[in-house]
């Protein structure tokens, strides 16, 4: 009874592989299994080669796997491209028309199972049977999806599903992948990273979001929009990203906890606005979902190439924080934390993710609605003295923030350097005081930094350092290496700015060898760690081909990490 089965469904965009994948995943989750979904798609609407991979079993998974137990090929290209990744016990499910001539291949006569329009359903039944899932459970998903829109199609779907199910039961005798009993109830939530962020945003009190569509960030906003009416939010598609950030700042100024979501190129257009938020001391959350650059790059793939840019985007100097969640729970939790940090310190705060984390789904324990602590914008006007001074110099740098129109106090925010009352000035002493006030807020932010998460003994022979979405594959690689008898530890940063060397310098120093693992070509986080702590990390495992890390990739690369020089 295998604990870890990797199912890859491949085909063209438009062939419905996402539908099969999602229905199958839903059934697996309902049956109590763990899943991890990773999608790979081209930047096109129809055609191209796409895959929908489901890793499933009875233990939680944090990253994708390279080898495949069950390859479901909707076209010949899929066979050609992925045949080589088949595990020794793996099977290829393909239509008889292009099934390869191989012992691992199951040539399915789809024609005989039903009309072409319903082959997806047949495939679902077939795979479900191989995995030992009940046919009724599989059909329940079809019903839920199709029931309302096309009730007339339910009967034929059931029929074809059963055909597929039966065909597998009787004709695939060699290998089945019946899973061990499910571990968790049907109680769990099935989410991808962007949905977890959207839920975190709603839980955190977001009331306004402006955006301009950009892969892989758009589905954050799609999820917000789906709940906007119920949750009382305003979501507006702006004319461009510049408008989006300025709208969010305007809305935040007027009292709505606000956010934007974008990717590298859109973020580039927002950097002037980031600086405006810093200067006007307006809280705003920016979700930046990374994809490979430069420029348009690989729009639907993954990378961690924008850390430096997110850290330094915006002219002039002002405090910011950057969270980089490593998993779905952190997406939910840190989005709330980011909103609270932005509100408390009245400054822009970032959630930095990537396409891999954004699009990959898992089933997780449900969040508790009673535990949420949504931010409330602004201070109580009753406590303010007249004349109200928006930028009053304070010890911790935080000035009381009133909302305009809520009381008779006038609120003046200015992008120029300003007096305490918000009006323009060029006086040197005021300038100095304001610069220092803004930077004092950073001292407070530093006291609240999330410590990086360390796993393993401090005196490991190998310490794997990572940040953001690379967490899962790194943890898995470490586990595998430990099983091989190596003393391996991991250090994961879910907050990459500010960095507090005292939190990690000892750990870095006590390992015999430290390797930094990140999804870019120049080792941006390794360099940042050196800048902030003085600790050099010349050993690196990098990836920049657009695919997410896997444990196997890391282990393979670790075999051959030379110390690397600096790059641009």
């Amino acid at each position: 009874m295998p604990q870890d089965i990797n199912i890859v469904i491949g085909g063209e965009a438009g062939q419905g592989l996402v539908t099969i994948g999602q229905l199958l995943s839903k059934a697996l989750v309902r049956a109590g299994y763990e899943i991890l979904i990773t999608q790979s798609y081209h930047s096109r609407i129809r055609g191209g080669h796409n895959t929908f991979a489901i890793r499933t079993g009875t233990v939680p998974f944090h990253g994708p796997r390279d080898t495949i137990e069950l390859l479901v090929a909707l076209n010949a290209e899929t066979v050609a491209l992925h045949q080589g990744e088949l595990a020794s016990q793996g099977l290829i499910i393909a239509d008889a028309a292009f099934a390869p001539d191989s012992a691992a291949a199951v040539a399915v006569p789809f024609k005989e199972l039903g009309p072409e329009k319903f082959w997806n359903t047949a495939a679902l039944g077939l795979i479900g049977n191989l995995l030992g899932l009940p046919a009724d459970l599989l059909f329940a998903g079809v019903e839920a999806t199709l029931g309302k829109k096309h009730p007339e199609a339910l009967a034929i779907n059931r029929e074809v599903l059963d055909h597929g199910y039966q065909w597998a039961a009787t004709r695939i005798t060699a290998r089945h992948f019946t899973l061990a009993g499910g571990i968790a109830g049907g109680n769990r939530l099935m989410l991808h990273g962007n949905e977890a962020i959207a839920l975190g945003a709603l839980a955190g009190g977001v009331k306004f979001c402006a955006f301009y569509p950009m892969t892989p960030s758009t589905s954050v906003v799609l999820s917000l929009i789906a709940h906007a009416d119920l949750m009382g939010c305003v979501i507006e598609q702006a004319e461009d990203e510049i408008a989006a950030i300025n709208m969010a700042i305007g809305a935040a100024f007027a009292g709505a906890p606000s956010m934007v979501a974008t990717s590298g190129g859109g973020y580039a257009l927002m950097t002037e606005g980031v600086s405006l938020a810093g200067m006007t001391e307006t809280p705003v959350l920016l979700v930046v979902a990374q994809r490979p650059g430069p420029a348009t790059g690989l729009p639907t793939r993954t990378e961690q190439g924008d850390l430096d840019f997110v850290l330094h985007g915006g002219h002039g100097e002002f405090p910011r924080a950057i969270f980089a969640p490593g998993d779905l729970e952190a997406c939910y939790r840190l989005t709330q934390r980011a909103l609270a940090t932005a509100e408390r310190y009245q400054t822009p705060v970032f959630l930095l993710t990537d396409q891999f984390l954004a699009d990959s789904s898992r089933a997780i324990a449900p969040f508790d609605p009673e535990q949420i602590a949504p931010v409330k914008a602004g201070a109580d006007p009753a406590s303010a003295k007249a004349p109200y001074r928006r930028y009053a110099i304070t010890e911790n740098g935080i000035s009381p923030r009133l909302l305009p129109g809520v009381s008779e106090h006038l609120v003046v925010a200015d992008s120029d350097e300003h007096y305490e009352d918000g009006h323009i000035t060029e006086e040197q002493p005021v300038r100095i005081a304001m610069v220092e006030k803004r930077l004092r807020k950073f001292a407070g932010m530093k006291e609240e930094v999330l410590a990086p998460q360390h796993e393993g003994t401090p005196d490991a022979e190998l310490l794997l350092v990572c940040w953001g979405s690379t967490k899962g594959p790194v943890l898995e690689a470490a586990a595998i290496l430990r099983e091989q008898g190596k003393k391996v530890a991991t250090l994961h940063f879910a907050q990459v700015w500010p960095l507090i060397p005292e939190q990690f310098l000892d750990l870095l120093g006590s390992a015999s060898k430290v390797v930094c693992i990140e999804g870019n070509a120049t080792g941006q986080f390794a360099r940042l760690l050196r800048r902030e702590s003085g600790f050099a990390l010349p050993h690196r495992v990098l990836r920049y081909d657009g695919l997410p890390f896997t444990a196997q990739y890391i282990i393979d690369q670790l075999g051959q990490v030379p110390a690397q020089g600096e790059n641009p």
Binding site: G205, A210, M231, G232, V234, A244, G250, F367, P404, V412
Partner: protein
């Protein structure tokens, strides 16, 4: 009753003789005419000489980035529709750097007022051609004259079916105050393009130049006739029409959002019950 004194008197950083003074006064008059108290008003501006205006009267102020006043105003209005939101800036800010936001704002039809101090030049940066500069207008950066055709904001606004389109002149402050008051009272996006002499950098389009050309639309002019409005809005040269060029009612952008039916967003608590329902959908 609001009085003009409540709006205060401030030192300005403008040149003596600048058209901005007339606009500032007209704005105050209009706010008083609309009986708005300073704290009910939010002035949003960009950067430029015109964009300093909000610093020179009592009101809530968001003085943002060059060219980006309109999106900030849009966000603020969506967050709190009880505020009277006025976006005010120069021609460079609104039609140059901010051109895309200008188009989008006219398409949206939020209940905001757009005041453009149109001096046909970039003042604060010392006299480059602006989008509304006359073609051929000579500056240090355009020594052969501005090479592009002038942007006619009211013609474009009428072509786009903007719900209120007017033109005023800083040199006729009473009419201007009236136009601004009408714009504020209008339900929907209201544009007032305001001709404003710049005594330091625009030696062509002077007070006299405007005076000689401007005429008030006659009483019988029907601002709801779009065909006439299109033709009238195109006029700019030997004769320049002042007044409400075009006006019609259309649905407000705000009405589109369920959440806004409950009032300003800052007053709306996050409901745990609703959030529980949201979570259910991911089961």
């Amino acid at each position: 009753m609001t009085t003009i004194e409540q709006y205060g008197k401030f030192d300005t950083a403008w040149c003596p003789g600048c058209g901005n003074f007339g606009i500032l006064n007209a704005l105050k008059q209009a706010l008083v005419a609309c009986d708005l108290a300073p704290h009910q008003v939010l002035l949003v501006s960009g950067i430029g000489q015109a964009a300093k205006t909000p610093h020179y009267l009592n009101a809530n102020v968001f003085n943002g980035l060059h060219g980006r006043g309109l999106p900030a105003a849009t966000g603020a209005k969506l967050a709190n529709s009880e505020l009277t939101v006025i976006a005010e800036s120069g021609d460079g800010c609104m039609y140059g750097e901010g051109g895309n936001h200008f188009l989008a704002a006219l398409r949206r039809n939020l209940d905001i007022t757009i005041l453009v101090h149109d001096n046909q030049v970039y003042g604060l940066t010392k006299g480059q051609a602006s989008p509304t500069s006359d073609q051929g207008f000579v500056t240090k950066t355009q020594p052969h004259g501005a090479p592009s055709a002038a942007f006619n904001p009211v013609a474009v606004a009428v072509a786009m079916g903007t719900s209120f389109v007017a033109r005023g002149f800083a040199g006729i402050p009473d009419q201007l105050a009236d136009l601004i008051a009408q714009a504020i009272r209008h339900r929907g996006t209201a544009l007032v393009d305001i001709l404003q002499p710049c005594v330091s950098f625009n030696p062509v389009n002077t007070f006299k130049w405007y005076k000689d050309r401007c005429y008030e639309l006659p009483a019988e002019y029907d601002p709801t006739d779009r065909d006439v409005a299109r033709r009238t809005a195109a006029e700019f040269g030997e004769r320049i029409p002042l007044g409400v060029l075009y006006r019609h009612d259309k649905p407000l952008f705000e009405e589109h959002f369920d959440a806004l039916k409950q009032g300003p967003l800052h007053r709306q608590e996050v409901s745990r019950t609703a959030f529980r329902q949201v979570l259910e959908q991911y089961r």
